[in-house]
Amino acid sequence: MYFFVGKILPYITVAILLGGITWRIWRWMIGRIKFNITLPPFPSSWGAAVVWILWQMVAFWNILKFDRPLWVGAWPMHVALASIAGGHVLGVYTLGMQFHLLLPWLVSEHASEAASNALGTTFGIIFFVALLYLLYRRFAVEKVRVISATSDYLHLLLLLAIVGIGDYMRLVSSASLHYEEARHFMAGLFTFNPQPLPENFYFFLHFLLVQIMLIIFPFSKLMHPFGILWNRWIYNRPYQQPPMGLPGTKITL
């Protein structure tokens, strides 16, 4: 089992993830955008349209404007998720030295690792709490409960399990895993020279659940970061008003 999850499954996962995303987007693009069915705010140029799409993605602007209680959970959750994803890459690759490498004259190696740990733990807890809040909201708020399918809850539970185990490894020293061990293992995978999984049950579980999440990613609503781009591309595009002025009138502009 350790052999399969540590040495074989990761390659299957990545193949399904990348292939699945490509396949799904290809399917989206079968249908044409026939009509210029723009929605407000009617940007006047492509630049303005792209800025609006990015602003929606970065700020969750519509949620902030129209459903503040959801934004309180959704925005921190996604920010924490992005930070954690970036932190995993940078922290593991640089062994926690990312801040030292970025600002060597300001941050010592020791301080960088401490900052990496502190940020990871903080965002991990924010992520967990925000997910719990979103799960509670799905159960408790009627308008959301009535439109939810079982899978909507399962996605949240899966993320909660992943981040819960991650947080546990952060907070309980006996369960933790050093950056070096993780890097050694990941480097083996990336260089097609798979190394055995570190002897840590929590890491095994964390790693397995993450792979399950990545496998279902292209076949579920988790695709929504791509969905927002492809969908807003239809609705947020420039529209020019026709020139005013009526022909052949006695009173003209």
Binding site: I30, T38, A149, G248
Partner: protein, 485 residues
Amino acid sequence: MPKKVLSDGTEVAQPHRAPDRLMKRLHVREVPDAEKPAMAIKWLDYYRKNRRSLTMAMESCVKCGVCAEQCHAYLGTKDPNNIPAGRADLMRRVYKRYFTVQGRLFGKLVGAEEMTMDVLEKWFSYFYQCTECRRCGHVCPFGIDTCEVTMAGREILWGLGMVPELQGAASAAVFERGNQGAMTQAGAVDTHEFLSDELEEERGFRIEFPVNKPNSDILYVPSSADYLLNPETLKGAAQFFEYIGANWTISSYMLEAGNFGLLTDQHSVQRELVRRLWWVVADLGIKKVVFGECGHGWRAWKMYTEALTDYAVAGPGYTYKSVPLVNIHQEVAALIKAGKLKLDPKNNRLAPSGTYVTLHDPCNYVRADSLGDVFRYNLYNSVPAVREMTPRNEKNFCCGGGSAVLYDDPEMYDLRIKFFQKKADQVRASGANHICAPCSICKAQFYPMVKEHNLTTEDGKTIMPVNGLIDFVGAALVFKGHRQI
């Protein structure tokens, strides 16, 4: 039609279905019930491959629930199927079952569902409760426009022969007469003469309505409902064209600013009006087309004409004369801004002093085009006082009649009353005593609903009057002389 009882005993309200004779006139064959589910899947497959907006609406929703309390239909009925995400889910569940990996593998777990007659009956109920106002699209973090789902759903139902009588009759009239009210040329000319008489009494000089006049520069396309319900709107437009001394005409062959085809059948009905429009433009030598007050109509012309023309008129080897299409409000606003229209808001026949007008922003004017400020500019210049509603402009709520869900059958009429609840609250809170709704369908919804919700003026007895916007502009125009000579 009484409520439709589904196989699990639940009841859904549905509009009255088109009778057989009407269906034949539309060339629609009703598919036998046993074959409907399979045929519906075929159509759904067709639309998902042809409209990216539908595919993305099916595949991007995360069920966050932001749309729920932004939809007047849900606010009025508290029916989960009227939450935009829930309404789209009526189709999305089936879509998942047949066109997604997760739906085929996991079925109910991911909310997938088999296509059955019950599902189609629910579509026929709830897709005709959506007013396609796009407010959910405006608030959705992903920009998912549920209107694209209900429009495709209605088209699939149309293809199966599940056609509401109202939309069916209006569409048959489009094929027959070029307008949804089945107005004939004689009927239009008669109405014009009557309105000219009225204008003569009011203004002291006669204003004519030219019909099918060759070599006209401007084609004015009113909503055919103006002939049945909104005479002041026609008069307002005529006064405007008279004031600027326009060489204008109305065509009896193409007498419809609205286009129910957009909402039920884009394949044939919507194209028929596009075809008629270019026919008239070529025939009468039109240089610019000005559309009258109709919200969804303006959306249909503004967003769909160019692409639909390719199919309806200009196939390979054909040429057609393309002229600009504009809305009358934009032209009025441009002229007021240039200081070319003299308006006296204090001396407006329709809004005497003491009148506080509130502006209802028709959904498709403000969420399919940015005309909210244009309306306000025209209104503030034409009436003595304005009391604004909240929210307004592109955040405004629908009147509950949008996309022509203006059914008279008791079940659907009750729903219309509920859909209007939010609007009634808004109007009351504004403190106005006169409503301006620059859209034919809005007006058709307001006329009975102000009574149903007892929206009265200060005396508590008089029902609030409802007018269009060009009505006020026309009545406020100060003529220097006949035809401005």
